[in-house]
Symmetry: C2
Protein backbone atom coordinates (compact mmCIF):
# COMPACT_ATOMS: atom_id res chain seq x y z
CA UNK A 1 0.00 0.00 0.00
CA UNK A 2 1.33 3.36 -1.04
CA UNK A 3 0.00 5.16 2.00
CA UNK A 4 -2.38 4.92 4.89
CA UNK A 5 -6.04 4.56 4.07
CA UNK A 6 -7.66 7.05 6.45
CA UNK A 7 -10.57 7.65 4.10
CA UNK A 8 -11.62 5.18 1.46
CA UNK A 9 -14.44 5.75 -1.01
CA UNK A 10 -16.39 2.84 -2.47
CA UNK A 11 -18.10 3.95 -5.68
CA UNK A 12 -21.71 3.29 -6.62
CA UNK A 13 -23.18 5.52 -9.26
CA UNK A 14 -26.80 4.69 -8.43
CA UNK A 15 -26.21 5.99 -4.88
CA UNK A 16 -24.66 9.21 -6.14
CA UNK A 17 -27.73 11.46 -6.38
CA UNK A 18 -27.65 11.78 -10.17
CA UNK A 19 -23.97 12.61 -10.20
CA UNK A 20 -21.56 10.46 -12.17
CA UNK A 21 -19.05 8.37 -10.29
CA UNK A 22 -16.37 10.34 -12.09
CA UNK A 23 -17.70 13.57 -10.60
CA UNK A 24 -17.99 12.09 -7.10
CA UNK A 25 -14.40 10.80 -7.31
CA UNK A 26 -13.14 14.19 -8.50
CA UNK A 27 -14.78 15.84 -5.51
CA UNK A 28 -13.54 13.20 -3.07
CA UNK A 29 -10.01 13.67 -4.37
CA UNK A 30 -10.46 17.40 -3.81
CA UNK A 31 -11.42 16.56 -0.22
CA UNK A 32 -8.29 14.45 0.28
CA UNK A 33 -9.53 10.86 -0.16
CA UNK A 34 -6.76 8.23 0.21
CA UNK A 35 -8.21 5.36 -1.80
CA UNK A 36 -11.04 4.75 -4.24
CA UNK A 37 -12.60 1.37 -4.74
CA UNK A 38 -14.32 0.87 -8.07
CA UNK A 39 -17.35 -1.17 -7.13
CA UNK A 40 -20.44 -0.32 -9.24
CA UNK A 41 -22.20 -3.49 -8.20
CA UNK A 42 -24.68 -3.64 -11.05
CA UNK A 43 -22.41 -2.60 -13.93
CA UNK A 44 -21.07 -4.91 -16.63
CA UNK A 45 -17.38 -5.77 -16.77
CA UNK A 46 -17.08 -3.62 -19.87
CA UNK A 47 -18.53 -0.62 -18.08
CA UNK A 48 -16.32 -1.18 -15.06
CA UNK A 49 -13.31 -1.39 -17.34
CA UNK A 50 -14.18 1.86 -19.09
CA UNK A 51 -14.94 3.68 -15.84
CA UNK A 52 -11.83 2.17 -14.27
CA UNK A 53 -9.64 3.66 -16.96
CA UNK A 54 -11.13 7.09 -16.28
CA UNK A 55 -10.67 6.73 -12.53
CA UNK A 56 -7.12 5.46 -12.99
CA UNK A 57 -6.23 8.68 -14.75
CA UNK A 58 -7.78 10.84 -12.01
CA UNK A 59 -6.37 8.86 -9.10
CA UNK A 60 -2.92 8.45 -10.60
CA UNK A 61 -2.61 12.18 -11.07
CA UNK A 62 -3.67 12.77 -7.45
CA UNK A 63 -1.54 10.01 -5.91
CA UNK A 64 -4.66 8.21 -4.71
CA UNK A 65 -4.82 4.40 -4.70
CA UNK A 66 -7.33 2.75 -7.02
CA UNK A 67 -8.69 -0.62 -5.94
CA UNK A 68 -11.11 -2.71 -8.00
CA UNK A 69 -13.80 -4.71 -6.25
CA UNK A 70 -13.97 -8.40 -7.06
CA UNK A 71 -12.69 -8.50 -10.66
CA UNK A 72 -8.99 -9.28 -10.78
CA UNK A 73 -9.00 -9.05 -14.57
CA UNK A 74 -10.48 -5.55 -14.51
CA UNK A 75 -7.93 -4.52 -11.86
CA UNK A 76 -5.13 -5.65 -14.09
CA UNK A 77 -6.68 -4.23 -17.24
CA UNK A 78 -6.92 -0.71 -15.80
CA UNK A 79 -3.58 -0.94 -13.98
CA UNK A 80 -5.24 -0.47 -10.59
CA UNK A 81 -3.15 -0.58 -7.43
CA UNK A 82 -5.04 -3.66 -6.34
CA UNK A 83 -8.21 -5.58 -5.80
CA UNK A 84 -10.69 -6.05 -2.98
CA UNK A 85 -12.00 -9.59 -2.45
CA UNK A 86 -14.84 -11.18 -0.50
CA UNK A 87 -15.98 -14.70 0.26
CA UNK A 88 -17.51 -15.13 -3.21
CA UNK A 89 -14.44 -13.97 -5.08
CA UNK A 90 -11.19 -15.57 -6.20
CA UNK A 91 -8.79 -16.61 -3.43
CA UNK A 92 -6.14 -14.11 -2.35
CA UNK A 93 -3.29 -16.28 -3.63
CA UNK A 94 -4.85 -16.55 -7.08
CA UNK A 95 -5.28 -12.77 -7.28
CA UNK A 96 -1.67 -12.36 -6.16
CA UNK A 97 -0.55 -14.70 -8.93
CA UNK A 98 -2.30 -12.57 -11.54
CA UNK A 99 -1.49 -9.11 -10.14
CA UNK A 100 1.96 -9.70 -8.70
CA UNK A 101 3.72 -9.01 -5.43
CA UNK A 102 3.36 -5.24 -5.69
CA UNK A 103 -0.43 -5.30 -5.79
CA UNK A 104 -2.56 -4.27 -2.82
CA UNK A 105 -5.00 -7.03 -1.96
CA UNK A 106 -7.82 -6.28 0.44
CA UNK A 107 -10.19 -8.84 1.93
CA UNK A 108 -13.59 -8.37 3.54
CA UNK A 109 -13.91 -10.08 6.90
CA UNK A 110 -16.29 -9.95 9.80
CA UNK A 111 -14.76 -12.46 12.21
CA UNK A 112 -11.44 -12.97 13.97
CA UNK A 113 -10.93 -16.35 12.29
CA UNK A 114 -11.51 -14.95 8.83
CA UNK A 115 -9.14 -12.08 9.60
CA UNK A 116 -6.36 -14.45 10.66
CA UNK A 117 -6.90 -16.59 7.58
CA UNK A 118 -6.83 -13.60 5.23
CA UNK A 119 -3.61 -12.33 6.79
CA UNK A 120 -2.06 -15.79 6.51
CA UNK A 121 -3.06 -15.89 2.84
CA UNK A 122 -1.31 -12.62 2.14
CA UNK A 123 -3.94 -9.88 2.38
CA UNK A 124 -2.47 -6.38 2.63
CA UNK A 125 -5.41 -4.90 4.49
CA UNK A 126 -8.80 -6.00 5.77
CA UNK A 127 -12.16 -4.39 5.19
CA UNK A 128 -13.82 -5.08 8.54
CA UNK A 129 -17.58 -4.87 8.83
CA UNK A 130 -20.33 -4.19 8.64
CA UNK A 131 -19.30 -2.30 11.80
CA UNK A 132 -22.56 -0.43 12.14
CA UNK A 133 -26.04 -1.25 11.04
CA UNK A 134 -26.70 -0.03 7.53
CA UNK A 135 -29.77 0.43 5.42
CA UNK A 136 -29.89 -2.15 2.67
CA UNK A 137 -29.70 0.50 -0.02
CA UNK A 138 -26.48 1.88 1.28
CA UNK A 139 -24.94 -1.32 2.19
CA UNK A 140 -21.38 -2.45 1.67
CA UNK A 141 -21.74 -5.85 3.25
CA UNK A 142 -25.44 -6.33 3.19
CA UNK A 143 -25.63 -9.93 4.29
CA UNK A 144 -23.88 -9.21 7.55
CA UNK A 145 -25.34 -8.10 10.80
CA UNK A 146 -23.48 -5.24 12.36
CA UNK A 147 -20.42 -6.55 14.18
CA UNK A 148 -19.81 -3.47 16.34
CA UNK A 149 -16.58 -1.77 17.36
CA UNK A 150 -15.79 -4.47 19.93
CA UNK A 151 -15.22 -6.92 17.07
CA UNK A 152 -12.91 -4.40 15.41
CA UNK A 153 -10.91 -4.35 18.65
CA UNK A 154 -10.74 -8.17 18.72
CA UNK A 155 -9.59 -8.35 15.11
CA UNK A 156 -7.06 -5.59 15.79
CA UNK A 157 -5.66 -7.78 18.55
CA UNK A 158 -5.45 -10.82 16.25
CA UNK A 159 -3.72 -9.53 13.11
CA UNK A 160 -0.96 -7.11 12.17
CA UNK A 161 -2.19 -5.72 8.84
CA UNK A 162 -4.20 -2.50 8.56
CA UNK A 163 -7.96 -2.56 9.12
CA UNK A 164 -10.41 -0.35 7.28
CA UNK A 165 -13.76 -0.14 9.04
CA UNK A 166 -16.75 -0.37 6.72
CA UNK A 167 -20.54 -0.42 6.94
CA UNK A 168 -22.72 2.34 8.29
CA UNK A 169 -19.77 4.68 8.88
CA UNK A 170 -20.60 8.36 9.36
CA UNK A 171 -18.64 11.36 10.61
CA UNK A 172 -20.41 10.78 13.94
CA UNK A 173 -19.27 7.19 14.50
CA UNK A 174 -16.00 7.03 12.52
CA UNK A 175 -13.85 8.03 15.50
CA UNK A 176 -15.13 5.12 17.57
CA UNK A 177 -14.21 2.59 14.86
CA UNK A 178 -10.76 4.09 14.60
CA UNK A 179 -10.32 4.25 18.37
CA UNK A 180 -11.07 0.51 18.36
CA UNK A 181 -8.15 -0.14 16.03
CA UNK A 182 -9.11 0.64 12.42
CA UNK A 183 -6.60 2.78 10.58
CA UNK A 184 -9.34 4.32 8.50
CA UNK A 185 -12.91 4.08 7.27
CA UNK A 186 -14.58 3.13 4.01
CA UNK A 187 -17.89 4.58 2.91
CA UNK A 188 -20.28 4.74 0.03
CA UNK A 189 -23.19 7.08 0.71
CA UNK A 190 -21.49 9.20 3.35
CA UNK A 191 -19.57 10.61 0.39
CA UNK A 192 -21.53 9.63 -2.75
CA UNK A 193 -24.80 10.85 -1.27
CA UNK A 194 -23.45 14.01 0.39
CA UNK A 195 -24.46 17.46 -0.78
CA UNK A 196 -20.77 18.27 -1.01
CA UNK A 197 -18.61 15.15 -1.42
CA UNK A 198 -15.39 17.13 -0.93
CA UNK A 199 -16.60 18.58 2.37
CA UNK A 200 -17.90 15.16 3.43
CA UNK A 201 -14.48 13.64 2.76
CA UNK A 202 -12.79 16.32 4.86
CA UNK A 203 -15.28 15.84 7.66
CA UNK A 204 -14.71 12.10 7.61
CA UNK A 205 -10.96 12.55 7.71
CA UNK A 206 -11.24 14.91 10.67
CA UNK A 207 -13.33 12.28 12.48
CA UNK A 208 -10.72 9.61 11.74
CA UNK A 209 -8.00 11.85 13.09
CA UNK A 210 -10.02 12.43 16.24
CA UNK A 211 -10.29 8.68 16.62
CA UNK A 212 -6.54 8.22 16.15
CA UNK A 213 -5.81 10.77 18.87
CA UNK A 214 -8.29 9.04 21.13
CA UNK A 215 -6.82 5.60 20.45
CA UNK A 216 -6.27 3.52 23.53
Amino acid sequence: MNRSYRTYLVTQEDLSVDRSTREVVERAIEGGIDAVQLREKHATARRRYELGRELRELTERAGVDLIVNDRVDVARAVDADGVHLGDDDLPIGVARGILGEGAVIGRSVSTVDAAREAEANGADYLGVGAVFHTSSKDDVADDELAIGVERVREIRGAVGIPLVAIGGITPENAASAVAAGAEGVAVISAITGADDPAAATRELRAAVEDGLEGEE
Copy 2:
Protein backbone atom coordinates in the same frame (compact mmCIF):
# COMPACT_ATOMS: atom_id res chain seq x y z
CA MET B 1 -7.26 -23.52 -31.05
CA ASN B 2 -6.01 -27.02 -30.50
CA ARG B 3 -8.56 -28.59 -32.79
CA SER B 4 -11.80 -28.08 -34.60
CA TYR B 5 -14.84 -27.36 -32.45
CA ARG B 6 -17.46 -29.63 -34.01
CA THR B 7 -19.34 -29.99 -30.72
CA TYR B 8 -19.05 -27.47 -27.93
CA LEU B 9 -20.81 -27.81 -24.58
CA VAL B 10 -21.76 -24.74 -22.54
CA THR B 11 -22.26 -25.74 -18.91
CA GLN B 12 -25.17 -24.73 -16.70
CA GLU B 13 -25.77 -26.86 -13.65
CA ASP B 14 -29.33 -25.63 -13.10
CA LEU B 15 -30.24 -26.92 -16.58
CA SER B 16 -28.69 -30.31 -15.93
CA VAL B 17 -31.67 -32.24 -14.53
CA ASP B 18 -30.21 -32.63 -11.04
CA ARG B 19 -26.87 -33.83 -12.33
CA SER B 20 -23.71 -31.99 -11.47
CA THR B 21 -21.85 -30.12 -14.20
CA ARG B 22 -18.92 -32.41 -13.50
CA GLU B 23 -21.04 -35.44 -14.32
CA VAL B 24 -22.46 -33.86 -17.48
CA VAL B 25 -18.95 -32.97 -18.65
CA GLU B 26 -17.68 -36.49 -17.97
CA ARG B 27 -20.47 -37.91 -20.09
CA ALA B 28 -19.98 -35.35 -22.86
CA ILE B 29 -16.29 -36.21 -22.98
CA GLU B 30 -17.28 -39.85 -23.26
CA GLY B 31 -19.43 -38.83 -26.23
CA GLY B 32 -16.52 -37.06 -27.92
CA ILE B 33 -17.13 -33.38 -27.12
CA ASP B 34 -14.42 -31.04 -28.53
CA ALA B 35 -14.73 -28.07 -26.18
CA VAL B 36 -16.35 -27.24 -22.86
CA GLN B 37 -17.26 -23.71 -21.87
CA LEU B 38 -17.55 -23.10 -18.16
CA ARG B 39 -20.50 -20.77 -17.94
CA GLU B 40 -22.66 -21.33 -14.82
CA LYS B 41 -24.36 -17.99 -15.19
CA HIS B 42 -25.55 -17.65 -11.60
CA ALA B 43 -22.48 -18.96 -9.77
CA THR B 44 -20.00 -16.84 -7.83
CA ALA B 45 -16.46 -16.38 -9.09
CA ARG B 46 -15.24 -18.59 -6.27
CA ARG B 47 -17.55 -21.41 -7.32
CA ARG B 48 -16.59 -21.02 -10.97
CA TYR B 49 -12.94 -21.16 -9.98
CA GLU B 50 -13.41 -24.34 -7.98
CA LEU B 51 -15.51 -26.00 -10.67
CA GLY B 52 -13.08 -24.78 -13.32
CA ARG B 53 -10.21 -26.55 -11.60
CA GLU B 54 -12.18 -29.80 -11.63
CA LEU B 55 -13.13 -29.40 -15.28
CA ARG B 56 -9.55 -28.52 -16.19
CA GLU B 57 -8.41 -31.85 -14.85
CA LEU B 58 -11.08 -33.77 -16.77
CA THR B 59 -10.67 -31.88 -20.03
CA GLU B 60 -6.87 -31.86 -19.93
CA ARG B 61 -6.79 -35.61 -19.54
CA ALA B 62 -9.19 -36.01 -22.49
CA GLY B 63 -7.53 -33.47 -24.77
CA VAL B 64 -10.67 -31.31 -24.75
CA ASP B 65 -10.42 -27.53 -24.78
CA LEU B 66 -11.70 -25.67 -21.71
CA ILE B 67 -13.02 -22.16 -22.29
CA VAL B 68 -14.25 -19.87 -19.49
CA ASN B 69 -17.19 -17.59 -20.14
CA ASP B 70 -16.68 -13.88 -19.40
CA ARG B 71 -14.11 -14.01 -16.55
CA VAL B 72 -10.59 -13.62 -17.85
CA ASP B 73 -9.20 -13.93 -14.33
CA VAL B 74 -10.96 -17.26 -13.75
CA ALA B 75 -9.70 -18.49 -17.14
CA ARG B 76 -6.17 -17.68 -16.14
CA ALA B 77 -6.57 -19.01 -12.60
CA VAL B 78 -7.68 -22.46 -13.79
CA ASP B 79 -5.26 -22.53 -16.73
CA ALA B 80 -8.11 -22.75 -19.23
CA ASP B 81 -7.36 -22.80 -22.96
CA GLY B 82 -9.20 -19.53 -23.33
CA VAL B 83 -12.13 -17.27 -22.67
CA HIS B 84 -15.41 -16.49 -24.38
CA LEU B 85 -16.45 -12.83 -24.44
CA GLY B 86 -19.63 -10.92 -25.21
CA ASP B 87 -20.59 -7.29 -25.58
CA ASP B 88 -20.67 -6.76 -21.80
CA ASP B 89 -17.25 -8.29 -21.18
CA LEU B 90 -13.69 -7.05 -21.39
CA PRO B 91 -12.39 -6.20 -24.87
CA ILE B 92 -10.61 -8.95 -26.82
CA GLY B 93 -7.27 -7.11 -26.74
CA VAL B 94 -7.41 -6.75 -22.95
CA ALA B 95 -8.11 -10.46 -22.53
CA ARG B 96 -5.24 -11.21 -24.92
CA GLY B 97 -2.93 -9.07 -22.81
CA ILE B 98 -3.81 -11.05 -19.68
CA LEU B 99 -3.93 -14.55 -21.23
CA GLY B 100 -1.22 -14.28 -23.87
CA GLU B 101 -0.89 -15.08 -27.54
CA GLY B 102 -1.53 -18.79 -27.10
CA ALA B 103 -4.99 -18.35 -25.58
CA VAL B 104 -8.16 -19.10 -27.52
CA ILE B 105 -10.44 -16.08 -27.45
CA GLY B 106 -14.01 -16.49 -28.62
CA ARG B 107 -16.49 -13.68 -29.19
CA SER B 108 -20.28 -13.76 -29.38
CA VAL B 109 -21.64 -11.96 -32.44
CA SER B 110 -24.94 -11.78 -34.24
CA THR B 111 -24.17 -9.39 -37.11
CA VAL B 112 -21.70 -9.20 -39.98
CA ASP B 113 -20.26 -5.92 -38.69
CA ALA B 114 -19.64 -7.33 -35.21
CA ALA B 115 -18.04 -10.41 -36.76
CA ARG B 116 -15.65 -8.30 -38.83
CA GLU B 117 -14.77 -6.19 -35.81
CA ALA B 118 -14.13 -9.23 -33.60
CA GLU B 119 -11.89 -10.78 -36.23
CA ALA B 120 -9.98 -7.51 -36.61
CA ASN B 121 -9.55 -7.39 -32.82
CA GLY B 122 -7.98 -10.83 -32.78
CA ALA B 123 -10.78 -13.27 -31.94
CA ASP B 124 -9.88 -16.90 -32.66
CA TYR B 125 -13.44 -18.03 -33.26
CA LEU B 126 -16.93 -16.56 -33.21
CA GLY B 127 -19.97 -17.82 -31.38
CA VAL B 128 -22.68 -16.90 -33.88
CA GLY B 129 -26.26 -16.72 -32.75
CA ALA B 130 -28.80 -17.12 -31.55
CA VAL B 131 -29.24 -19.03 -34.82
CA PHE B 132 -32.57 -20.56 -33.86
CA HIS B 133 -35.29 -19.41 -31.55
CA THR B 134 -34.71 -20.62 -28.01
CA SER B 135 -36.82 -20.80 -24.92
CA SER B 136 -35.62 -18.29 -22.36
CA LYS B 137 -34.70 -21.06 -19.93
CA ASP B 138 -32.36 -22.72 -22.34
CA ASP B 139 -30.96 -19.65 -23.80
CA VAL B 140 -27.37 -18.91 -24.65
CA ALA B 141 -27.92 -15.46 -26.10
CA ASP B 142 -31.23 -14.57 -24.60
CA ASP B 143 -31.44 -10.95 -25.64
CA GLU B 144 -31.15 -11.78 -29.30
CA LEU B 145 -33.84 -12.66 -31.74
CA ALA B 146 -33.01 -15.68 -33.84
CA ILE B 147 -30.72 -14.64 -36.70
CA GLY B 148 -31.29 -17.72 -38.85
CA VAL B 149 -28.88 -19.73 -40.99
CA GLU B 150 -28.82 -17.09 -43.73
CA ARG B 151 -26.97 -14.77 -41.33
CA VAL B 152 -24.50 -17.54 -40.60
CA ARG B 153 -23.84 -17.72 -44.32
CA GLU B 154 -23.33 -13.95 -44.56
CA ILE B 155 -20.92 -13.96 -41.64
CA ARG B 156 -19.11 -16.94 -43.15
CA GLY B 157 -18.61 -14.85 -46.28
CA ALA B 158 -17.26 -11.90 -44.29
CA VAL B 159 -14.61 -13.42 -41.99
CA GLY B 160 -11.97 -16.14 -42.11
CA ILE B 161 -12.01 -17.45 -38.52
CA PRO B 162 -14.09 -20.46 -37.44
CA LEU B 163 -17.75 -20.00 -36.55
CA VAL B 164 -19.55 -21.99 -33.90
CA ALA B 165 -23.33 -21.80 -34.28
CA ILE B 166 -25.20 -21.31 -31.01
CA GLY B 167 -28.76 -20.87 -29.80
CA GLY B 168 -31.56 -23.39 -30.17
CA ILE B 169 -29.29 -25.99 -31.79
CA THR B 170 -30.64 -29.56 -31.86
CA PRO B 171 -29.58 -32.72 -33.71
CA GLU B 172 -32.41 -31.89 -36.12
CA ASN B 173 -31.21 -28.42 -37.15
CA ALA B 174 -27.43 -28.65 -36.54
CA ALA B 175 -26.66 -29.78 -40.08
CA SER B 176 -28.33 -26.72 -41.58
CA ALA B 177 -26.20 -24.35 -39.44
CA VAL B 178 -23.06 -26.20 -40.47
CA ALA B 179 -24.07 -26.33 -44.13
CA ALA B 180 -24.40 -22.54 -43.92
CA GLY B 181 -20.77 -22.24 -42.86
CA ALA B 182 -20.37 -22.98 -39.14
CA GLU B 183 -17.58 -25.41 -38.31
CA GLY B 184 -19.50 -26.72 -35.32
CA VAL B 185 -22.31 -26.13 -32.86
CA ALA B 186 -22.54 -25.07 -29.23
CA VAL B 187 -25.34 -26.20 -26.97
CA ILE B 188 -26.48 -26.17 -23.38
CA SER B 189 -29.67 -28.19 -22.87
CA ALA B 190 -29.30 -30.41 -25.94
CA ILE B 191 -26.57 -32.08 -23.87
CA THR B 192 -27.09 -30.98 -20.23
CA GLY B 193 -30.80 -31.83 -20.37
CA ALA B 194 -30.50 -35.07 -22.36
CA ASP B 195 -31.36 -38.42 -20.83
CA ASP B 196 -27.94 -39.61 -21.96
CA PRO B 197 -25.47 -36.73 -22.46
CA ALA B 198 -22.90 -39.02 -24.09
CA ALA B 199 -25.39 -40.27 -26.67
CA ALA B 200 -26.64 -36.72 -27.22
CA THR B 201 -23.08 -35.56 -27.91
CA ARG B 202 -22.56 -38.36 -30.45
CA GLU B 203 -25.85 -37.57 -32.12
CA LEU B 204 -24.93 -33.90 -32.36
CA ARG B 205 -21.54 -34.73 -33.86
CA ALA B 206 -23.16 -36.99 -36.43
CA ALA B 207 -25.50 -34.13 -37.39
CA VAL B 208 -22.54 -31.75 -37.71
CA GLU B 209 -20.76 -34.24 -39.96
CA ASP B 210 -23.86 -34.53 -42.11
CA GLY B 211 -23.87 -30.76 -42.43
CA LEU B 212 -20.18 -30.69 -43.40
CA GLU B 213 -20.76 -33.25 -46.14
CA GLY B 214 -23.72 -31.24 -47.37
CA GLU B 215 -21.73 -27.97 -47.35
CA GLU B 216 -22.12 -25.95 -50.49
